[in-house]
Symmetry: C2
Subunit: 222 residues, 2 copies
């Protein structure tokens, strides 16, 4: 059997499921996929059946889906393409780091192996993309990186922003307002008991960051 190409849709589902399952084996709910892809749960169920038939994931009715080894392998390749294109868009074409996601989202579905490997070479085998996310190599191996986010710091600890998890415009413009980007130094001044908000010092100004936002900003402790 030829390893048959996936459709754009199938690729998007696979990538989403992989991301939701925390790079691996965790069960993913139909609803969570639906929310991320903006597709009705009923349609998600259909696609899950299809991917399940292709052995890209395992599905137990009313319970959830677990991506398979084969599915993981493919998902990682899609993520590799996405992140390499992001590097290209940012480093070569001079796009701002918050403009690259949507375009990479389209480029990632152009599925020539050779194209991606040559692009990788041209970019000198980058290890991370402009958001700080690690780029899988040709074999699908990923460098493990910092899993600490702002919420893991205690009062008076410092970190350097290394990675932004969420990738939507609203979030990006918020970060801009807060003066946060990859490389920004953050000092935790206070943690507000009431709702977990964090008071932090960024570029000599104090700002309040909600817990939810803070969780989506990964850092390297210093």
């Amino acid at each position: 059997m030829t390893p048959k190409q996936l459709s754009k849709s199938e690729e998007n589902y696979l990538k989403t499921i992989f991301n939701l399952s925390d790079s691996g084996n965790k069960q993913v709910s139909t609803n969570s996929i639906s929310k991320i892809l903006n597709i009705e749960p009923a349609s998600v169920t259909d696609m899950i059946k299809k991917l399940s038939k292709k052995k890209l994931l395992y599905h137990e009715k009313y319970k959830g889906s677990v991506i398979s080894k084969k599915g993981t392998k493919l998902a990682i390749q899609i993520i590799r393409r996405h992140r390499l294109w992001e590097v290209f868009l940012h480093d070569k074409l001079q796009f701002k780091w918050n403009e690259i996601h949507d375009i990479a989202e389209e480029l990632e579905h152009v599925s020539s192996e050779e194209l991606i490997n040559k692009l990788d070479k041209y970019l000198k085998y980058p290890k991370i993309d402009p958001h700080g996310d690690p780029i899988p190599n040709k074999l699908g191996e990923i460098d493990l990186i910092d899993k600490i986010s702002i919420t893991d710091l205690k009062i008076s600890e410092r970190g350097i922003v290394s990675r932004i998890i969420k990738e939507d415009e609203n979030f990006f413009s918020l970060l801009k307002k807060l003066n946060i980007e990859i490389g920004t130094e953050i000092l935790i001044e206070d943690i507000i008991d009431y709702d977990g908000s964090i008071e932090a010092r960024i570029e000599n100004k104090s700002v309040i960051i909600s817990k939810n936002i803070a969780e989506n900003i990964k850092i390297t402790k210093i």
Copy 2:
């Protein structure tokens, strides 16, 4: 009305029709489109109706289609994208000139204006692609170039290959066998009356080229 995005299919039809109509106003038959796209004539008729409704072309039943001004504008933008990607693939990623077409065929459908304009800038506003075809600028203007092909030369005249019209693998490998690429010098030694074949000298060897092939190789007279 928002200028609504075209689908990949619609873009492919439009580009094909534009090319078939010799960059302009000539009428194009349903069958000729069918042959190039490898899609049944009945399906082509369907799509023609659709494009006609969108005013991208004019269609008279059983007669043929003429691309509209609006359609032309869009087709030129698609061709611009295609050729810029070809330059990128060839010059930056070091693909061979006969490998780039199929990949560019996919990349051309990624439709961010800004992406294409930045790519254009990055490539330093190239005027021709690796096949010798002219690249429309941002405004859709195209440099007119040589319209002479090998068949326009007389015996003992010389030309330099400037452009290859056909873009399929078989044709490319034939050219390779004949030692023909952009820049190759060709001397016409004889024209065979019987079928219009051409005997030519290329890199000090005599070869026979069929009329059909010769028509697809554009040259600059020297």
